[in-house]
């Protein structure tokens, strides 16, 4: 069986020193992993590579056996669409649509059918059921983040990626978010990759990969 995520000897740079040199990692189906490293160490860049938004200088990335590090953009888009959903730190919801509207659009764009009931159930599961018709700007930070996670999960990805989900939270809330992500990922049978500079999250994960970054 294919690994969920297979990164083989990937190197990348932005014209300066290499951010990664021959970086490799694997994540089995349903696996959970923390990607930890200081700011600027290349975590977000790695996520862009995994999502196929960037092409690495060399090496190969496969998701569920499908290469996303090569080929035309449309092909990389298709692989991402089939397998990956991402929650960004501040880029969470389409501002013009309600929470439910965001979920509906996400499901449709991912080519998945999602009924009103599916959406209501998922929002309930995340404790924001009463916010279905609210607009993004009417939500608190925590609610918006949950809505973004719901938006990602409605697409039924095999890999859920979260970039800095806890950066602005106090200890208790950071712990709550980490718990939520881990629980949801295993409940939905989704692999989980969390990128953070927040070392408080380390104890929640069995597996962690550290990025050193470029020495200044």
């Amino acid at each position: 069986m294919n690994a969920l995520l297979q990164i083989d000897e990937v190197s990348h740079d932005f014209g300066g020193p290499a951010l990664f040199h021959n970086f490799s990692m694997t994540l089995p189906m349903g696996g959970q992993c923390l990607l930890v490293g200081p700011s600027g160490s290349g975590k977000s860049t790695l996520i862009n590579l995994i999502c196929g938004f960037l092409k690495p200088r060399s090496g190969e990335i496969r998701i569920a056996g499908e290469a996303i590090s090569q080929g035309a953009e449309a092909a990389r888009d298709a692989v991402r669409k089939r397998h990956v959903a991402v929650v960004f730190q501040s880029l969470r919801l389409v501002s013009a649509l309600s929470v439910a509207g965001n979920l509906q659009l996400a499901a449709r764009l991912a080519g998945r059918a999602a009924s009103q009931t599916d959406i209501a159930l998922l929002l309930d599961e995340l404790g924001i059921g009463e916010k279905a018709n609210a607009r993004p700007h009417q939500l608190s930070q925590g609610q918006a983040q949950r809505a973004a996670v719901a938006r990602a999960l409605i697409a039924r990805p095999s890999l859920l990626i979260a970039d800095e989900p806890t950066s602005a939270l106090d200890d208790a809330n950071a712990a709550r978010v980490a718990d939520m992500l881990l629980r949801l990922a295993s409940d939905h049978g989704t692999g989980l990759l969390v990128a953070t500079h927040d070392v408080r999250l380390r104890p929640f994960f069995d597996k962690a990969i550290a990025l050193e970054g470029v020495p200044a």
């Binding site: 977000s44 860049t45 996520i47 862009n48 999502c51 938004f53 960037l54 953009e73 449309a74 888009d77 991402r80 669409k81 991402v86 960004f88 730190q89 501040s90 880029l91 969470r92 919801l93 389409v94 501002s95 013009a96 649509l97 509207g101 659009l105 996400a106 764009l109 991912a110 080519g111 938006r151 697409a155």
Partner: protein, 414 residues
């Protein structure tokens, strides 16, 4: 995707509405122009149908046509009644209908004529009967509607041809309405028809006619010697409407009349074409102005889309993350421009017709000219499509710009 575009339009309600208005105004102008040009042309052509030639006193041919076909201008003068018989005996003439003008009631012209005029305009009585005796009159639909005159009603004509003319009343010789015509959309709607003899009688003109029961009636009013219309003296009429017996008449009759007699012959077709040509530069100028406004509207759409796209970049990046292709993003932006333009086109067309409707209520002149609202034709269709094209064009560059932008840096920043 359409719902997303609608949501975006709704999110920037004010800007969207402003853009719609900016583009709707020139659309409305163009529709108005289109309607005026088409409807007045149609009206003109319908009014002159069946009239090959107008014969009257020497003067401006356009004035002769306007006064005796469309009943808009003042007549060029009078001609002797004898000319009618002479023309009737001409083998080139199929029919000749006399017109005797001079008086009006409430701004509507009293026309002394023959029953053939009704046939010419294909006018039928809605109520009542044709005029038979002196001082009986049949009124056009517009006259009946405006004055509220009914069968049996008596009215007094006054000298002059327009409502503003301060003529004296012919109190001694009131007319009686005996018939009301159904609407025709032609000039006859605004006329009060009676016999030529009645018009003479009002003005105390001696004529030898067996039907004239009240013949020899004395007119105690001294009319000022206005050039227009009839006044005391020998039996005269104002103009004659002719139709040709054969095509060769079109070549020979006008030149014969214009050169060989003291009369003037004018062709309604030629004069109305000249009139329309007269309006063409004005129509062109207004059209060019409207196009300029349309360009301004398109520019407004372009600028607002361009600036919205900058602020919406993270949103659109998120859409890409959610699985929307570049093509889909391109289409959303394009659709936003197209929908703005489509709304503007619909609003503009509706606005123009609302204005036409309001104008035809508020100003008699507009409905007199035969301009009515709600007649949406192919012109509007073309204009609608053209407006959509303008919207597409305005959205093209912003859409392309958004589609070209690289995702990774946007995502990195967030």
């Amino acid at each position: 995707m359409i719902r997303l575009v609608l949501a975006y339009l709704g999110e920037n309600r004010l800007t969207s509405a402003l853009n719609v208005i900016l583009l709707a105004i020139p659309v409305a102008m163009l529709v108005l122009l289109l309607q005026f040009a088409r409807q007045s042309e149609e009206r003109f052509l319908a009014g002159a149908e069946g009239i090959d030639l107008v014969v009257g006193a020497k003067g401006s041919p356009l004035q002769l046509v306007l006064s005796s076909v469309y009943h808009l201008d003042r007549p060029t003068g009078n001609i002797p009644l004898a000319e009618l018989e002479r023309l009737r005996s001409n083998p080139l003439v199929a029919s000749a209908i006399p017109l005797a003008l001079g008086d009006q009631f409430d701004g509507f012209r009293i026309v002394g004529t023959e029953a053939a005029l009704l046939e010419l305009y294909d006018a039928h009585l809605a109520r009542g009967r044709p005029y038979a005796r002196p001082f009986e009159a049949v009124i056009g639909a517009e006259v009946a509607r405006t004055t509220g005159a009914r069968i049996g009603q008596r009215f007094v004509g006054s000298h002059g041809l327009a409502a503003g003319d301060e003529g004296e009343g012919h109190e001694a010789t009131p007319f009686e309405v005996v018939g009301i015509l159904a609407p025709t959309g032609k000039p006859v709607d605004r006329l009060i028809l009676t016999s030529v003899e009645s018009v003479w009688d009002v003005h105390g003109i001696e004529h030898h006619d067996e039907e004239a029961g009240e013949g020899g009636h004395e007119d105690e009013h001294a009319h000022d010697e206005a050039k227009e219309g009839l006044h005391e003296g020998e039996a005269e009429i104002t103009a004659i409407l002719l139709s040709y017996r054969n095509p060769s008449a079109a070549v020979r009759l006008p030149s014969y009349i214009n050169r060989g007699t003291n009369l003037q012959a004018a062709s309604p077709a030629r004069e109305s074409t000249r009139l329309i040509l007269l309006f063409e530069p004005a129509i062109r100028a207004v059209g060019a102005f409207a196009l300029l406004l349309a360009i301004a509207g398109a520019l407004a759409i372009f600028i607002s889309l361009w600036s919205t796209m900058r602020s919406r970049q993270p949103d659109l990046a998120l859409l890409r993350v959610m699985g929307a292709s570049r093509g889909a993003i391109f289409r959303t932006v394009l659709l936003e421009g197209v929908m703005t333009a489509g709304l503007a086109a619909l609003a503009g067309i509706a606005l123009a017709h609302a204005m036409l409707w309001a104008a035809s209520r508020a100003w008699q002149g507009v409905s007199d000219a035969g301009i009515v609202a709600g007649r949406i034709g192919a012109g509007e269709g073309v204009l609608f499509l053209a407006t959509l094209a303008v919207g597409t064009l305005a959205a093209l560059l912003p859409a392309w710009g958004v589609t070209r932008s690289h995702l990774a840096p946007i995502l990195q920043r967030n």
